[in-house]
Symmetry: C2
Subunit: 271 residues, 2 copies
Amino acid sequence: MNVFLLTAHPEPRSLNGSLSRFIVDHLESQGHQVQVSDLYAMQWKASLDRDDFQPADALDADGHFNPSTASGHALQRGTQPDDIAAEQAKLLWADAVIVLFPLWWYSMPAVMKGWFDRVYAYGFAYGVGEHSDHRWGERFGEGTLAGKRAMLVVTTGGWASHYGPRGINGPIDDLLFPIHHGMLYYPGMSVLPPYVVHRTSKVDDARYALIQAELGQRLNALWHTEPIAYRAQNGGDYEIPALTLRDDVVPDLTGFAAHVTPATSGTVTGT
Amino acid sequence: MNVFLLTAHPEPRSLNGSLSRFIVDHLESQGHQVQVSDLYAMQWKASLDRDDFQPADALDADGHFNPSTASGHALQRGTQPDDIAAEQAKLLWADAVIVLFPLWWYSMPAVMKGWFDRVYAYGFAYGVGEHSDHRWGERFGEGTLAGKRAMLVVTTGGWASHYGPRGINGPIDDLLFPIHHGMLYYPGMSVLPPYVVHRTSKVDDARYALIQAELGQRLNALWHTEPIAYRAQNGGDYEIPALTLRDDVVPDLTGFAAHVTPATSGTVTGT
């Protein structure tokens, strides 16, 4: 199978660097093909701006730079920058996508956010399919990347308890929901439960061996792990175009948890 | 009073550009002092990396680049890059901080994330105060920026219903929690309810006039609006060092909502 590994850490001799090499070696040793985008090593351009586009594509009918319009034009006309097109090709090539990063300020490092801002073009990751009063595009379970699997591998300095159900940072699954649901499931990927390493300053050799064993098992199970059971936008659970859950769907629930079907919602927390 | 406005949109002739000018004009017309960091106009460096540091500060005892160690050294030794030091000075100068951005992939644009990654140095925004088994620093209600107020102004392409309690994107207040609680409250700021503009492609003159009126009222109320009642880390509600809510504190609640005191938790949703 084809696996695309997206990583972002400024120090190769870090835990993230070690995990990146471990993931590649482990998957290749099992005969999988792996492509890696190491965003710091690539000096990835983080900011989506007008420089990403040729003058003829950059401006909308009013002469303003609108990122959606510009990225849609460039995709359609084949005038995207090479770096963006190359990353889209890796996504299309992949059967599974692994996204590895240190949690900085409760989200991904800026350079990785900029990868999503720039690579997720209009017509590629959003603005796909019919948009009308009856249909709001192909997204959240459908879309360009449907059929692929995705998994986050995340490291945090804080303790597991700090990210627990009643931990001060908020539950890790809720902190990751905007990435899981909003960035991976949105263009169609099936999202596996994340693998999270907490308390990174206390990783000695014994603990690193344990992490390798656990993560190795997760990689071995990449093709048969049950994905988080997010509800498909066009599967009948949502009113369109309001895009709210129908009144008869988990009527007592609000918030992120309501978008996971109850049968499995109890199993997505924690790793 | 002194107000610091942080913004990030690549097109000055956008709704975000108009709102930025409106905020400055409105506050200045009332006699306040305003400083603006327009990150796209400044061509802000988004990625925190080794280039931010002088060689003597960049590496830890093992010869590795560790962002926490490096930023702490640079802050302590006065060797930070000028751009980072200037932004820290604006935060210290401000009585209130307004953060204006378009919601891209359920979070802030990469360049703004990079502002937090780089400006929020160790010893400035985190790693402040005693860290031991009995005390986990001065954060979440205490810290370098205590006593200041902060408010997000956020624009989204989607409808308000999409971001409602049962909307497909997740509730806007939960999507913003990692920013509100994790980036603004963390170093001590009091966080006001956000002002959110939905469905940005449908802002005509009449609706823009309404937005100006609403936002103007929010700016007039900047000094007496009730902040979101997040629980202080060192206020007695949390076990230390586990940093979980004590068993007798809202015992039935988990998730983000548990970190707001119940008396006001009903009022923080929606604007």
